[in-house]
Point group: C2
Chain length 198, copies 2
């Protein structure tokens, strides 16, 4: 039996808690004490794992995006020669989930870009890397959809993926102020099913 | 001669300072003391003008968007029967300015949506009102451009304006992480000059 590594469990607990707190209160609004109290881990261990609050935030950002990447990859893997259909199912599922959780889920990346891009280069690079990784899966999906003749080919899959990821991020922000998934549905309908579709 | 109202000057100074500090440090990262020290106004006056830090942030949000609305209206007013040309000049000018100021200008609204939408209803409503006011000017511009036969008419000017304002907001976030205006140029080229154009 594999030995459970307590250090890894602690790191994971801290990152999980970090996602929730940074999402709800932002970077400046989240005190280190609050994180440590929530997971009952001593300050020394925290610094041993992450070195600083800034590094912790950067790792939390990269940790946050992983399940979204996996989920999108799974939808694509199960799309059986209909990549656009897989992307559509992923989007529809996301919209249902965001509505179910009262628009609070949203995207930690979008939340933190405004707060941290200008003040922390470490976090900005984590945001950039994470967004690019997520974009890369969309690029793969669009590339398959192009090969299947479902979407336009006069733009590269990378271009389409960049347009999509950015527009979706903007629609997520508008969703939060409007407390409505209408901006998401509009983004999906107009870009994916109209502008991108062949 | 009109009597200068010191109370109005103080309010304006506070709001101006508020824009800078909230943009740079976010809501939670900006202490009330920092604002008061910067403008040398006593705490009592601040509460007399705004009532709370939350109300102050809400007023700062609404104050921030006003010059953008005026500027866009001016470009449209000077467009002489070529509304799309006026909108294009406004966008190009914005891109030049964002590059000149090292991508720090961006949009206070986009920066604060993530931080405040879930935690302050007062600020969320100020964000919603401000975004809608800005959207309304785009709607007017697109409506003129439709009448002039420059852009598609199978979608309402309101729909086009919503798609545009949201996608632009997302492109501004991506600009900040990439430290490049490429996402803005892409948004402009692909949406305005491709998807929207007749």
């Amino acid at each position: 039996m594999e030995k459970i590594n307590q250090k890894e469990i602690n790191r994971e607990n801290l990152l999980n808690k970090g996602v929730g707190l940074l999402m709800k209160q932002g970077y400046h609004g989240t005190g280190l004490k609050e994180i440590l109290d929530a997971v009952k881990i001593p300050k020394g261990s925290f610094y041993n794992y992450f070195g600083s609050k800034e590094n912790f935030a950067a790792e939390t950002i990269e940790y946050f995006i992983l399940p979204y990447i996996t989920q999108l990859q799974n939808y694509l893997a199960q799309s059986e020669g209909n990549a656009l259909g897989g992307l559509e199912r992923y989007i529809k599922e996301s919209i249902v989930e965001l509505e179910r959780t009262d628009f609070k889920g949203s995207c930690l990346l979008g939340n933190l870009i405004g707060e941290l891009s200008d003040t922390s280069d470490t976090c900005r690079i984590a945001l950039k890397t994470s967004l690019n990784r997520y974009r890369d899966v969309w690029e793969l999906g669009f590339s398959c959809a192009q090969n299947e003749g479902a979407i336009r080919t006069d733009k590269s899959a990378r271009e389409l993926a960049d347009i999509w990821v950015n527009a979706w991020q903007g629609a997520l922000l508008r969703m939060k102020v409007e407390q409505s998934v209408a901006p998401l549905n509009q983004c999906y309908q107009e870009l994916l099913l109209n502008f991108f579709k062949k």
